[in-house]
């Protein structure tokens, strides 16, 4: 009990720190791609920038627009942050380590159907966006919320189907067992199409470029969080970045062999692999323009879903007939 609490507390702290520094790293990486320097004034190499940003956001005025649905308005940012954090409870970021004479499992909840719960909870993230868009009493926010709903619903399906192929080929729903099954053979080599579909849908899941329609700056000012400021906005922001960590961690767990690596370093391989995927997220953000809304929808329903279904059938065929 205490062990789980301590692990959870450490994890939350690490995630907040990581999300804060991801904003900094993202700014530096984007600057690098755009021939700029990025933030380098606060502290050595600008390393204190996230702390300065945090202080600024915490000390901002607490405001609330007129004629809003106050309860929902205050609830929405906490939903999107809570859901992003809750998903991390199921992700195994290491095997078993011996610390202070105790065996410690490097995961919080050992659920035997982890992947299903993970999908279930990560789908809840859309409520943060929808409720924020609805309660703000602002047309831009509402449009952002609507886009978020439609986008998440239609990208949830190919994501689920592509994850089914993983479950099929491993034969278990438990995340640690999926990782153990990848010892010596990462699933990306046998399920590359599933990985590609998962990667594309994870961009939509986290509302990142090129699928950042719910917060499209050019069309919707800031989309669903137009009316939010200060720490409430920061919670959406943190939620978004923790979500990136979540989808990268799931990708690492399911396709890149989780914490497994050449040496038995507990968390390091996991962190490194996640960092590579997070970098890829930033790289794509620097490259691709935003999809138009109808393109997004037709891409999901006419391209991704058929491909993922065919992929599922082919995987099932191989497992049943060929093996």
């Amino acid at each position: 009990m205490i062990e789980v609490l301590v692990k959870g507390l450490i994890l939350v702290m690490v995630l907040f720190g990581a999300a804060a520094y991801m904003t900094f790293i993202e700014r530096v990486v984007l600057a690098l791609f755009q021939l700029r320097l990025g933030p380098n004034r606060v502290g050595p190499f600008g390393l204190l920038q996230p702390i300065a940003d945090g202080i600024k956001l915490l000390t901002k005025e607490r405001f609330q627009p007129a004629n809003i649905d106050a309860f929902t308005y205050w609830l929405a940012p906490s939903i999107s942050l809570f859901v992003a954090l809750a998903v991390f409870a199921f992700i195994p970021f290491g095997g078993t380590v011996h610390l202070f004479g105790q065996e410690i499992q490097l995961r919080i909840a050992d659920v035997n159907s982890g992947i299903v719960l993970l999908l279930a909870i990560s789908s809840l993230a859309v409520y943060g966006i929808v409720l924020a868009g609805w309660s703000s009493n602002n047309r831009y926010s509402l449009l952002g919320g609507l886009r978020g709903t439609a986008q998440l619903i239609s990208f949830e399906i190919p994501m689920g189907i592509s994850l089914l192929t993983v479950i099929l080929s491993v034969g278990t729903l438990s995340l640690p067992e999926i990782v153990e099954a990848q010892r010596g053979h990462w699933l990306i080599w046998s399920n590359p199409i599933s990985f590609l579909i998962y990667l594309i849908t994870s961009f939509a899941e986290t509302n990142r470029a090129p699928f950042d329609l719910p917060e499209a700056e050019q069309e919707l000012t800031a989309g669903y969080h137009t009316e939010y400021g200060g720490m409430k906005f920061a919670m959406f922001f943190l939620g978004e970045y923790v979500n990136i960590l979540v989808v990268s961690s799931i990708a690492v767990t399911l396709f890149f062999g989780g914490w497994l690596g050449p040496y038995d370093w507990p968390v390091i391989w996991f962190v490194l692999k996640v960092a590579v995927i997070v970098f890829f997220f930033m790289w794509v953000r620097a490259t691709l323009p935003r999809f138009r809304y109808d393109q997004l929808m037709s891409f999901s329903w006419k391209v991704l879903i058929p491909i993922s279904v065919i992929n599922l059938i082919v995987t099932a065929f191989f497992l049943l007939v060929v093996k």
Binding site: A31, L32, F33, Q34, L35, R36, L37, W283, V284, A286, T287, L288
Partner: protein, 157 residues
């Protein structure tokens, strides 16, 4: 199908192009520490230049004030007292003011000046706390010594 594959290829190509830019040198100039080298004829704040012998070039003809499109220049001419001359001509500018907030740095005063007295230097860091701070008076505009503005004091105009 070929079109679709081409579209996918375009996306990958775009990613590679962006990655190529990551290895180029940033073009940012870290302003207060590093400064851009300005082109030699760039126009910044004004100077009232002097001859090599220390006399003011300005003869108070007010051509700059007349030509100024934003009416930023005020010149009060005065007669040179014998034995206490400020310039080589009959007159000199007893007061000379330029409102740097009105000035559009077009350089027409410099073109109009018959003696090459008023010039636009390359200094562009003009800021002040009040509007009055930015009305440059004669003391501020006149060179402390011949050639302070960077222009050759021996030139004709």
């Amino acid at each position: 199908m070929r079109k679709r594959l081409y579209q996918v290829w375009i996306y990958l190509k775009g990613l590679l192009i962006v990655m190529k830019y990551a290895f180029k040198k940033p073009i940012t100039i870290q302003y207060p520490e590093e400064r851009r080298v300005l082109p030699p004829r760039s126009r910044g704040r004004h100077y009232l230049t002097k001859w090599t012998d220390g006399y003011e070039r300005c003869v108070g003809c007010e051509l700059c004030a007349i030509v100024c499109p934003s009416q930023a220049i005020y010149v009060r001419p005065a007669q040179n007292e014998p034995g206490h001359a400020h310039s080589h001509g009959e007159r000199y500018a007893s007061d000379f003011q330029i409102n740097m907030l009105r000035c559009i740095y077009c350089g027409m005063c410099e073109e109009a000046c018959p003696t090459g007295a008023i010039i636009l230097s390359g200094e562009y860091e003009l800021s002040g706390y009040t509007r009055e701070d930015l009305i440059f008076t004669k003391e501020k505009l006149t060179e402390k010594y011949p050639g302070e503005s960077g222009r050759d004091p021996k030139r004709e105009i």
